[in-house]
Amino acid sequence: MTTAILVSILMTLVAASTPILLAALGELVAEKAGVLNLGVEGMMLCGAVAGFAVAFSSGSTTLGLAAALLAGVAAAMIFAVLALSLNANQVATGLALTIFGIGASSLIGAGFVGRTVPRLGPVFPAALSEHPWLRVIFGHDILVYLSLALVIGVGWFLRRTRAGLILRAVGENDASAHAIGYPVIAIRYAAVAFGGALAGLGGAYFSLALTPMWADRLTAGRGWIALALVVFSAWKPGRLLIGAYLFGAVMTLELQAKAAGVNWLAPEVLAMTPYLATIAVLTMMSIGRRTGRLDAPACLGKPFSAT
């Protein structure tokens, strides 16, 4: 295998992993605060369509990214009002948000089908970003570096800061956190908003960076993979990073193997390897622990009302 192919595979791998990593990291923070938002796919689609629409209309990819972030937050706020303020069932509300996101993005995007925008470009100057092998490190766009920085940032926030401790306390024992005087609902709103923002950016990664166009259901189910990754990571940002890149690697290598003529495996078998890997890892984790709860935040998915 030549260096050129290896470099190219790595570039594809990073690009494939980034949107999943962004969305999963946002969901991880929301879940750490005790909120299970299954609407990741819907929020991603809202971000994808808003980012594309604004980038197409304004000609600015930066504005597009900002719009995607806001659209993700807006979609998350629908969930927050229903599930946090009105105490609707979180699972049902999250699923409804996904269905809503699919429909709303399709409606908004109807006028943009068949259009395209300039691809989100690399951050570093061409000397580095187009270098034959240095581009593995310097050839990416802003969201790739942002996602990596956020993994460190979120890890530091959750483990090393007072605010992070409070957020975790809200997720582990909402009644106690409330008794000490922390605003449980407000903190959860913030966590859900953060999740929405990252899901929006993750969605925009499809419509602005990976495949700069709008087509219905552009994210094709990556939001569900992001949700699975949060469990896979046992709610730890570092492990989430590994999981996202592992997943990206399996997806990329599957296609590379086929292109290289590896045909002793049926294509269907290759296509299901990422999912098999997820199931296998989840099983190993639960066998290893036998606690039955995989370190999930204790109040995950439970409604809270201050009484």
Partner: protein, 359 residues
Amino acid sequence: MTSIITRRRLTFGAAAASTLPLVGRGAQAQAPLGVGFIYVGPIGDHGWSWTHDQGRLALEKEFGSKIKTSFLENVAEGPDAARAIRQLAQAGNQLIFTTSFGFMNPTIQVAKQFPKVKFEHATGYQRAENVATYNARFYEGRAVIGTIAGHMSKSGQAGYVASFPIPEVVMGINAFHLAARKVNPNFKTKVVWASTWYDPAKEADAAKALIDQGADMITQHTDSAAPLQAAEQRGVFAFGQASDMKAFAPKAHLSAIVDDWSGYYIKRVKEVMDGSWKSGDVWGGIKDGFVKLAPFNDAVTPAARAAAEEVQKGIVAGTLHPFTGELKDQKGEVRVKAGEKASDEILSKMDWYVDGVQA
């Protein structure tokens, strides 16, 4: 007039049924003819389902207030489809187009319950008194773009982003490869199965993998324009699928196989109106206007252009059949004898690759 019914409304609201307009039995003679469509994907896919919807829009343009069309999109293949088809039949549609292979059994099943309603099933092989089938000979278009690829590929390798190994797709791969090999005897066609009809990011990654492995011509049998964008980004050439996709890849897009169902749809609606509709099987190609080629890019060399036009003319005149023997499969077994043309029967059951295809 259009009434849009989404599958979601069907799923979540039984109430949807009562809101559907009933134009069936009680309708007056002047009532518009109801024409229903079932799509497997979203009409916003800019691919397969989109082209069928373009056909529906052409009907509205042609007949105006004399017809009333409605459609259901994102209908899953399988048992759920029967419910969707029945819904359209109950709503008073007299002609219903079910536009994906997997709707075959549900269409036959519902057709039995509504003997007066006429059904048209795309790409299937089961017919009934009130169920006709229709399909397009896309492989004719693939032979034309294969000719261009054979002329223009420098590496002598094409990358094929494919969905599932069903006869329709296998036929397209073989037609493309045979045409390219006629130009360049050492031509190689590498296939990557994306195992999906629609996943833009994955389709793009598949195209990138093929380009990494040396392909400088990308063609596809999946629904999104993503492989073209990948080709544009990497500076190789590509061909569009189902519709003209030049907007996505102005430099890379050499041509595209364009599906055009409007002619057939208009003809069949007219026949229902004047009572001459009959069940049957239509498999139309370039000659019948079912399959068209998007305008060639300026980058297409004069030699490639001339050869492609030659192939196209030969197909229309009937002097050239893309599957003319001798054709051997990968094990070296002769599948079509020298000088013979593959019958429609052989084509519609094709499950073998001609040698030189890496699938």
